[in-house]
Amino acid sequence: MTMNKADVVIVGGGLMGSAAAFFLRQRGRSVILLERDQIGQYASGVNFGNVRRQGRFLGQLELANRSWALWKRLPELIDDDLEFIASGHMRVCYREDEIAELEAYAAAPEAAQLDLKIYRGAELHERFPFLGKDVKGGSYAPHDGHANPRLAAPAFARAARRLGARIEEKTEVAEVQKVGDGFSITTTDGRQFSAAQLLITAGAWGEKLSAQFGEPVPLETNGPQMAVTEPVPYALPTVIGVYTKIPEEVIYFRQIPRGNIIIGGGYRSKPDMLNRRAYVEPRSILNQLDQMRRLVPGIGNLNIIRVWSGIEGYLSDSLPVMGPSGTVDGLFYAFGFSGHGFQLGPGVGDVMAELISTGSTRTSIEPFSIRRFAPSAEQRSKAS
């Protein structure tokens, strides 16, 4: 008979859960990971693939730096190739006043390790001659890059399994409960799992589980809009993204060495949560074509050969929920990465493993605490 008991049960097999399983095993903790569908099927597998630090909330850069150091240890770290290339990332803008904002970001002490360089005018167009004349300036991050999201979570899960983690796919959690000092997890196929500690890494579904412990959060689901062109000679190694406050102007692209150009940004779609499918809205693609022609006028007669979407969880303040529960001992969260979790993945796994194993972490994650959504004492007294 299989023992359904472990030091830690992880619910949700995206990149966060898979990476956490891997790092927990490295720290010698026994792990069972429960995934309702397939590893890395939702937000983790369908995102753009940006391994980008610049532009993040400054209070997240410490975590992003820790993750970047792990990305740099690939493929040796997990003995698998995620097609990571530290190709450089360029964040461009269409307005002069936005350059000042990029400069302020680059000057922030938190961003020191990013080695950002601001380009503008002739120097910008000399360094990136393919950018359209509307582009006024940009911030270049030489160490950022991109990787293949389809491969990442499954590779971490395989690496975790090789270290002895138990990975259960097609296993849907029906109920989680605190029982005595530990947790009891019931799956829809009637199995019972138990663990001393529980980590919820259920992405867009994380809120359903946190609510079972009396910690609801304002999470909404969005479908990213992605497209890819046919392959053309590899000429655009730098990831380029537009910095703007106008949603439809948001566009980013990366070319992979085999030649295809991957494009994302613009509108988001509302996923069908009943069938767990998200679609690309035709208007998103048409907008991306417009925006790409503006950003790279020479893009010319390339063809879009495929588009895709997925299901991402966004918190109301666009920051994740990460850290210990505010109410239940032994319960931890890492979900709702609001469209910017891919780069953080290895770092989140490492930090959560450290936190779960030692009770604390050397990396600041306080801004992501679930307690920020807890009703204040004043609100609670009003309610009662």
Binding site: Q38, G45, R150, L151, P154, R158, T229, E230, R258, V280, E281, P282, I285, L286, L289, M292, R293, I299, G300, N301, L302, N303, I304, I305, R306, V307, W308
Partner: protein, 458 residues
């Protein structure tokens, strides 16, 4: 209510007969077609200015081609015909179209998909070399542009199209080096009772074979393809097969046309959420429809080879029947005798379809025998060995998972030409039935969409 906005996609035999039936009932359907001219594939019309006769172009099917084209000419003023227009995506009630670089939307209340079929292909080592075509591609080159795909052409695969295209090439004066059929004679004899459902068609097929033999074209039955020979720079120089007697046969040629009958074009229906079902007879996924062509999505119908591979005659019946089903659903009066007549005709064609699948079976076993270094996905240049490793090393026994890991089906053709063979490779590697590995989900755009596409401002 003749005010319902009815859109037909595809102007082949199914689409034209569907439009004709709706016009007779007082409707003015929109007929969208990707081609510049009506007729679809089998009755493809030559470009303006070409002057080959019907007999030259369509042989034994000349009268049917003429009849369909004339019917279409009569309809033109009574329908909203939009040629050279690709429906690249859809949302409930709205089609996304692109024509000559301009994007527009078309609203619909009812949609009839007559999207036809393309070649069903099984990889062979070397099939990525220049000079390798599908049978359908070879036929289009001849029919549309009056050109041969090579100076010395081998036709290889199985199915009625193998003999039809080979004899069309022969008649056009091309040098047909050989016809190499994977199906052994025994299978055909066994299938005879079912094929007798349509004696005239059976006779036509036998006549084609006789013509090829008379012209001293080597015809080999029961062969196993080994490889397409040649170099990357110079392209195809020959093909190598194992004959039924176990000998290795090499035929020199500079072009080869391959194919194993047809597969349906289901992308639009798939994007619309229509269910597909696994068809045992042909061992592939087909649209789930009722006898009249209603899909699982209300208001969406399908007819012709895009729904079920039964050929052009059946497509005409199915096109009429889908239109009649729509009229019934719209509470319009429908001639019961006409409905019964289409059903009767289709019943025979269904039996014949099963007979064809028996006589010229899909060679699933070839996928298992495919050498590791043979390319499966030509768009992305992924080999059988790479695909098998995603099964053995990464545990991907489902086709969409295997696609995510291996890229098979991720390229320009979006799996239209490699996904079925890829599924067989995965099934063989995983030791499970091909139905269990599933099918690749459709993703927009239906065909590549130019980045120069612009929205038309109304």
């Amino acid at each position: 209510m003749a005010t319902a906005r009815v859109v037909i996609v595809g102007a082949g035999p199914a689409g034209v007969r569907c439009a004709q039936t709706l016009v007779a009932a007082g409707f003015r359907p929109i007929l969208i077609d990707e081609n510049r001219r009506d007729g679809g594939q089998i009755y493809r019309r030559q470009p303006q200015g070409f002057t080959r006769s019907y007999a030259t172009l369509y042989g034994t099917e000349a009268d049917k081609a003429r009849d369909l084209h004339e019917s279409f000419e009569h309809l033109r003023a009574q329908i909203d015909y939009r040629p050279d227009t690709l429906v690249w995506n859809l949302t409930p009630g709205q089609l996304c179209c692109v024509s000559q670089g301009e994007h527009s939307t078309v609203d619909y209340d009812a949609l009839i998909l007559c999207t036809g079929a393309t070649d069903r292909l099984m990889p062979i080592k070397g099939w990525q070399l220049g000079g390798t075509y599908s049978l359908g591609g070879a036929q289009i080159a001849l029919k549309a542009q009056a050109v041969s795909i090579g100076h010395r052409v081998v036709f290889m695969g199985s199915g009625p199209l193998l003999y039809l295209v080979a004899s069309q090439y022969l008649k056009a004066g091309a040098n047909v080096a050989a016809v190499l059929d994977t199906s052994p004679l025994g299978k055909r004899i066994k299938a005879l009772p079912k094929l007798m459902a349509r004696p005239r068609l059976l006779f036509t097929g036998m006549k084609l074979l006789a013509q090829l033999r008379q012209a001293k074209v080597p015809v080999h039955l029961g062969i196993s393809p080994l490889q397409v020979l040649g170099e990357a720079d110079s392209g195809v120089s020959g093909v190598q097969v194992q004959t039924a007697r176990g000998e290795t046969l090499t035929v020199a040629c500079d072009a080869v046309a391959l194919g194993y009958h047809l597969r349906p074009e289901t992308q639009l229906a798939d994007l619309a959420g229509c269910l597909l079902r696994f068809d045992e007879a042909s061992s592939q996924w087909l649209l789930a429809t009722d006898d009249a062509g209603r899909t699982s999505v209300s208001g969406i119908y399908a007819a012709g080879d895009g729904a079920k591979i039964r050929g052009a005659d059946a497509a005409e019946c199915a096109g009429r029947l889908a239109a009649l089903a729509l009229l019934q659903d719209l509470q319009q009066p429908v001639d019961a005798a006409q409905v019964a007549e289409q059903h009767r005709a289709l019943k025979l064609m269904d039996e014949f379809r099963v007979g064809l699948a028996q006589a010229f079976p899909w060679p699933a076993e070839q996928a298992k025998a495919l050498p590791d270094d043979a390319i499966v996905c030509r768009c992305e240049m992924i080999s059988a060995g790479e695909l098998r490793r995603t099964v053995s090393e990464k545990g991907a026994c489902e086709v969409n998972r295997a696609k995510a890991f291996s890229r098979v089906g991720m390229g320009r053709c979006q799996g239209r030409y490699c996904a079925q063979a890829g599924a067989e490779v995965i099934a063989a590697a995983a030791g499970i039935h091909v139905q269990e590995v599933g099918r690749q989900r459709g993703q927009a755009p239906v065909k590549p969409l130019s980045m120069l596409t612009r929205e038309v401002t109304p």
